[in-house]
Symmetry: C2
Subunit: 472 residues, 2 copies
């Protein structure tokens, strides 16, 4: 390995010396990672925004990013109370200000008391501030009708993604034909496929040993909310097939359709009784990025583990301690999310009104999306029962499919790229999530503000008609 | 794989069914991870604190956590200006408040303008808010005497650890005898050994292919500040041996000793000219957790990559996009750290005074630590030139070593555990960082407040004398 310096310098002088780290020599698992939600189409959207700013003429005046569940980027106003509490924690001089309600001050003081040095600037313990873990446990108990939750089974995280990746990391092991398999839904949120590629595990098919099953409920990208019966079936299947269950429940507050209701996997599992309740391993994830807060940028979340082996839990704790702690501001907002103002608190009325307004508007947008898409020939959209996305199926004419293949693009990627170039609407092709062979979809968030959403949906439908015409 | 349900239920009824995820079946790489800074000794410290709260009698009244570089947990007061800016960003209603200085408001408005939806609640792009990347680039240019820095080579991160792990992840590849080796200093900060264990890479010795060299300057745990000549030697070595350089420079503002000065690897590399300047690959890391801010809990940091292959950089960007974005509050504090108030700004005087006071106190504590330890027989402490730690060498009598071995403990772990039990002082044994065979050290932060530090150092020295006596 150790060539003499002279030889290298000579090579370098000739411009021949290769870099240590190249596409060929880098970690091949990382190379295989794909993440459509921020993939090439989003890169192109950023370029188009740049061109618009530079005054380049386009057939549209703004890029609408309907590719990612980022409510505040789409204009959703932050809920007041959590931001007040966080501002007080960040700058405790404000505790003397008359402009903040008493309950926000009480909450901030209580959180600061629980922080090292009474400051958000100290590391918390790796699993998160103990008091906040306790508040999360009480939230889960209320949500699940009194089924006990143990704070020591709760680990706060840097958004839900971080916790999901941690649990997957514990599960992967083996190489070649013994590589770990993880069953994921199709279509899926591409965090799962990306993390599995990074860990050299596989989305279970034949040549592996499946150890885990991931479920997203309410569904991303489909917006489906699972019935209780469906959840029971999944739990029975996992138990029989000996699969660790990962329940991605970050949209648990985002249920809109009449007759739909969120049931947590933990509650259903517990109520199923023996042999499931005491044995089936489960990790349930939640986040402050979705729901009614939409505080994505703060990166807060948690995982609750159920029936996890005690020694494995210790290993998980150890693994998390290497990254020190989840960001404290995200922990503060999580605390407010799980213990909001009570009816007797001064901020209760405003908090409830703001929360209801956000959820009501989301429900209206879910309905509108389904309606407008289903009026368009060649587009079919399932009811958006929950979460923040529609995942409509689009008919693409054979000549468009052929043209896409000539360009080396998935047909729905070709459709979405053309859509972006001609209308400024940025959505993610279904091929980034997985879909039945020969069908084409895209994922579009329901987050654009109401006054923009209707024209947007109509513009998209019209573009589809024009595109169909062009290639027929 | 698919046993029938009945068989499983039978097993379960007999209590025989094994969990899917056990110590034996879990990811063996995770099992091999060790992280001394939050290891068993810290667990014990937490238990002791609990016992004290419950009124259990101890030979001390509080546990002093000198195990981790967590300034605010040790009572350091946050610098005012960055907290003002962050509070304004979190709760923009405060922009109308007369209690905030104009420059803090200007800065907050500028940051919010650059955020999606003008809110910290939106995701930023994965590499961080573009404007903040630009501010970081200008900071690096000032620091390095005008050597250009490209914002597109700067990736903001969730503390420096997150960025270090990302770069290491790109580098690892191969299995068995072709496993990737990474050269790390001994003693080292155990993030490096932990990350390498997690990725199934090895700390380079013989049976691997070394691809990277990690340097920590100013040093953790030793507090050493490298001379310019030393840095040049490291760069030449890396170039000749074809090693990607990782420069952990998170303590760049923490230099205390007269005659010591921080030289960035980027600056030295650039000034060395050909063949090094244009070819040697380098990643330099920085953080808001150390320096004069000590804002650990907010998890902010960045990496600048130099001479990185363009395609690899794209892969890095893609990999980071899966975790969406670094927490926005940490990005805000980083922005203040790299573009603090200018002399003409209303907050300049106070900011400078607070900053100087923190650094002057750290310098005094560095000196005091060295002095008190070197007065104690059997303890030898190098000058703490920079960073936040002393790493004194302690003589341990043979009978103590023997007793430790009987207990299955490293001798310095035995010493540190006894120290904790009898004095409440929590420090980390040298064996957690690596040390020359047959020598014993511990790492202790210089962060306890001045009025506590002197008695602490004396108590520790006295305990060492007593311990030596006991085992002689």
């Amino acid at each position: 390995m150790a060539l003499r310096a002279g030889e290298h310098s000579q090579e370098a002088a000739n411009g021949l010396k290769e870099r240590v780290l190249t596409l060929d020599s880098m970690n091949p698992c990382v190379r295989r990672v794909e993440y459509a939600v921020r993939g090439p189409i989003v890169q192109r959207a950023l370029e188009l925004e740049q061109e618009l700013r530079q005054g380049v003429k386009k057939p549209f005046t703004e890029v609408i990013r309907a590719n990612i569940g980022d409510a505040q980027a789409m204009g959703q106003i932050p809920i007041t109370f959590p931001r007040q509490v966080l501002a007080l924690c960040v700058h405790p001089d404000l505790l003397n200000s008359p402009d903040f309600p008493e309950d926000a001050k009480r909450k901030a003081e209580r959180i600061l008391q629980a922080c090292g040095g009474h400051s958000l600037g100290a590391y918390s313990i790796s699993a998160g501030v103990q008091m906040i873990r306790e508040d999360v446990a009480r939230y889960i108990e209320r949500r699940d009708g009194g089924i006990p939750a143990d704070p020591n089974n709760i680990f706060l995280s840097t958004g839900a993604s971080d916790a999901i990746v941690t649990v997957l990391k514990l599960l992967v092991t083996g190489e070649g034909r013994t590589r770990t398999g993880v069953l994921i839904p199709i279509p899926q949120y591409p965090l799962y496929s990306a993390a599995l590629a990074e860990f050299n595990a596989v989305q279970a098919r034949d040549h592996c040993r499946p150890r885990a099953l991931c479920v997203i409920n309410p569904g991303n990208p489909t917006g489906q909310v699972q019935t209780r019966e469906c959840i029971e079936d999944v739990i029975r299947f996992a138990f029989e097939e000996r699969l660790f269950l990962l329940a991605d429940e970050v949209y648990q507050d985002n249920v809109y359709a009449e007759g739909s209701q969120f049931h947590s996997f933990k509650k259903v599992l517990t109520e199923m009784g023996p042999p499931y309740a005491a044995r089936q391993e489960l990790a349930s994830f939640h986040s402050i990025s979705k729901g009614y807060m939409g505080e994505c940028g703060f990166r807060g979340g948690y995982v609750e583990v159920v029936n996890m082996d005690a020694a494995v839990k210790q290993q998980m704790q150890k693994l998390r301690s290497v990254r020190l702690c989840p960001p404290t501001p995200g922990q503060v907002l999580l605390d407010v999310a799980v213990s909001p103002p009570a009816p007797s608190d001064p901020s209760f009325a405003q908090f409830q009104a703001e929360r209801r307004a956000v959820l009501a508007e989301l429900a209206a947008k879910a309905k509108l999306t389904e309606k407008v898409f289903n009026e368009a020939p060649g587009i079919r959209c399932n009811p958006v029962q929950g979460a923040m996305y529609s995942f409509p199926r689009v008919q693409l004419p054979p000549r468009a499919v052929q043209r896409a293949q000539e360009l080396g693009l998935a047909p729905d990627m070709f459709f979405c790229l053309r859509l972006l170039e001609e209308t400024g609407i940025c959505v993610v092709p279904g091929s980034g999530f997985g879909q039945r062979e020969g069908t084409y979809h895209f994922r579009m968030t329901i987050l654009p503000p109401m006054e923009k959403l209707r024209p947007l949906l109509e513009k998209l439908s019209q573009f589809h008609a024009k595109f169909t015409c062009e290639y027929s």
